[in-house]
């Protein structure tokens, strides 16, 4: 039996009590799956992903990610969970005061690796995303596409079990978007990472098997 990475049962999420964004939804994502969650603007895609990395508390129902229940999770336990997850955002969320190299090193520093190991791994990943020559630059000196490639390198740095991406190509042109999809496909194919992507549109030329959920009226529906 395949290992379950995300399991939600009767999940209800809301920002304001009595006004749920996600209502009594069920979701099961298994290891090594490539998952898309689509939906209209304001359908709760980002809300769902925020709850998966523990930023938004579970209002009702249950949610387990990487075997850790997220209901009333303690900060220490949440930190443990986050060490197994890589997150990618539409606005990249890179630390602008840090160099590209240091940004990629972040998850490794948190995991407690030595500086040498962090540097070696960061260089390996920067080479993989073809940005090793920009290791000493700062994020704001890079283009949007390059910043997102750095964000992917950072998300992969600590070999996470799960990558959560919130509109990773939302701000990018077609060429840069293709590069990002290729990197995510590569991580899924070569490292066996489970990938959950929230997007408003699935690329037509993806070329891999994926699972598709559609969010409508606060309910998560499995499409394929």
């Amino acid at each position: 039996m395949d290992k379950i990475i995300i399991h939600a049962q009767n999940l209800q999420l809301s920002y304001k009590k009595g006004e749920p964004i996600i209502k009594k939804s069920n979701l099961t994502i298994k290891k090594n799956e490539f998952v898309f969650v689509t939906g209209k603007s304001g359908s709760g895609k980002s809300t769902l992903i925020r709850s998966l990395y523990g930023e938004l508390p579970v209002e009702k129902g249950s949610l387990t990610v990487c075997g850790i229940p997220l209901n009333n999770i303690k900060p220490q336990k949440l930190n443990i969970l986050r060490k197994h997850i890589g997150v990618i955002f539409q606005d990249y969320k890179l630390i602008k005061e840090w160099t590209v190299e240091k940004n990629v090193m972040l998850p490794l520093m948190i995991a407690g690796y030595s500086k040498n190991v962090c540097t070696m791994q960061a260089h390996k990943l920067l080479k993989h995303v073809k940005l090793l020559h920009k290791a000493d630059k700062y994020p704001l000196e890079l283009s949007g596409g390059e910043q997102q490639r750095i964000a992917i390198a950072r998300a992969l740095a600590h070999n996470p079990i799960l990558i959560l991406a919130d509109e990773p190509t939302g701000n990018l042109d077609e060429y840069s978007s293709e590069v990002i999809w290729d990197l995510l496909k590569g991580a899924h194919h070569h490292l066996g990472t489970t990938i959950v992507i929230v997007t408003h549109k699935i690329p037509s030329t993806l070329g891999i098997n994926y699972k598709h959920y559609f969010l409508d009226g606060g309910i998560i529906n499995e499409v394929s």
Binding site: E55, R82, L94
Partner: protein, 271 residues
């Protein structure tokens, strides 16, 4: 430039706070030194026709710390050549008894007179003489300055801590995004906040050492020394190692508590 401004915004209130704290400590030492002088630079001499019951005297005047008899030998020494030993022995036995009295409080003029009157009421006491130097006025002035400096130091403490808090909030907001991103990857509290703690630690050291240097070099100034001498302050009121250590410790404790409170207050936003 912005970073320098940020540092100065913490260093200045912290410097003022530590400066006033050290001033209170010094005032306390000066008053203590004066108190010591007052205890030692006065005397009460009792002349009595017979032995005085010391316990009775102490019961009547609780402020008395000790009563010591004064030997008449010094007076009799003058007559050694002129009188025979028998006459000297007779003279000694017929001389009145002298006692030196010490008190356990530094008395002002009024208290001294009151004590004098009480002693006179004790049987056998024929005369009471008091000798005092005029330290009391300066002492009372110093007590007033000490009290005022404590009030000012308290006000300065409150204002400085509020200013430090304000600056900590600005720092936390400046670092909020970085702390939030670090939190997304499971960074523990101490790691997210390490930069802020490093900043406050540096500023604490700068402030404490600057205050120490001022208090260390100020007494070495010739005109300052002259002023101190005229007030009768002739001791080194700043202890470089002890005081600097206390100032460093105090500034670190204040800033670390402030930054921790501010971070914890914003914890929900930066989780």
């Amino acid at each position: 430039m912005k970073s320098l401004k940020n540092h100065i915004s913490v260093i200045i209130p912290l410097f003022i706070l530590l400066f006033s704290f050290q001033f209170v400590i010094i005032m306390d030492r000066v008053v203590e030194n004066y108190q010591y002088k007052l205890f030692n630079d006065y005397s009460i001499v009792i002349t009595s026709v017979g032995e005085i019951n010391k316990e009775r005297l102490k019961d009547a005047i609780p402020q008395i710390k000790s009563i010591e008899p004064i030997s008449p030998n010094n007076i009799l020494k003058e007559f050694k050549g002129n009188f025979s030993p028998a006459n000297l022995a007779y003279l000694k036995s017929s001389l009145p008894k002298f006692y030196n009295v010490k008190l356990n409080i530094p008395p002002d003029k009024g208290e001294l007179n009151e004590i004098k009157e009480k002693i006179k009421e004790i049987p056998n006491v024929s005369k009471v003489e008091t000798f005092e130097k005029s330290y009391t006025k300066i002492y009372n002035l110093l007590l007033l300055v000490k009290k005022l400096s404590e009030v000012f130091a308290t006000l300065i403490f409150i204002i400085s801590v509020l200013l430090i808090f304000k600056q900590m909030e600005i720092w936390t907001l400046q670092h909020q995004e970085r702390m939030y991103i670090m939190g997304l990857f499971g960074s523990p509290f101490w790691m997210k906040s390490a930069v802020l703690y490093k900043l406050v630690f540096t500023d604490s050291l700068i402030s404490a050492i600057t205050v120490s240097l001022i208090y260390y070099f100020l007494p070495k100034n010739a005109s300052f020394q002259e002023e101190m001498r005229s007030l009768g302050i002739d001791f080194n009121f700043f202890k470089p190692i002890d005081d600097t250590s206390i100032l460093i410790l105090l500034s670190i404790v204040i800033t670390i508590i402030s930054v921790t409170i501010v971070i914890l207050k914003q914890k929900t936003e930066i989780k």
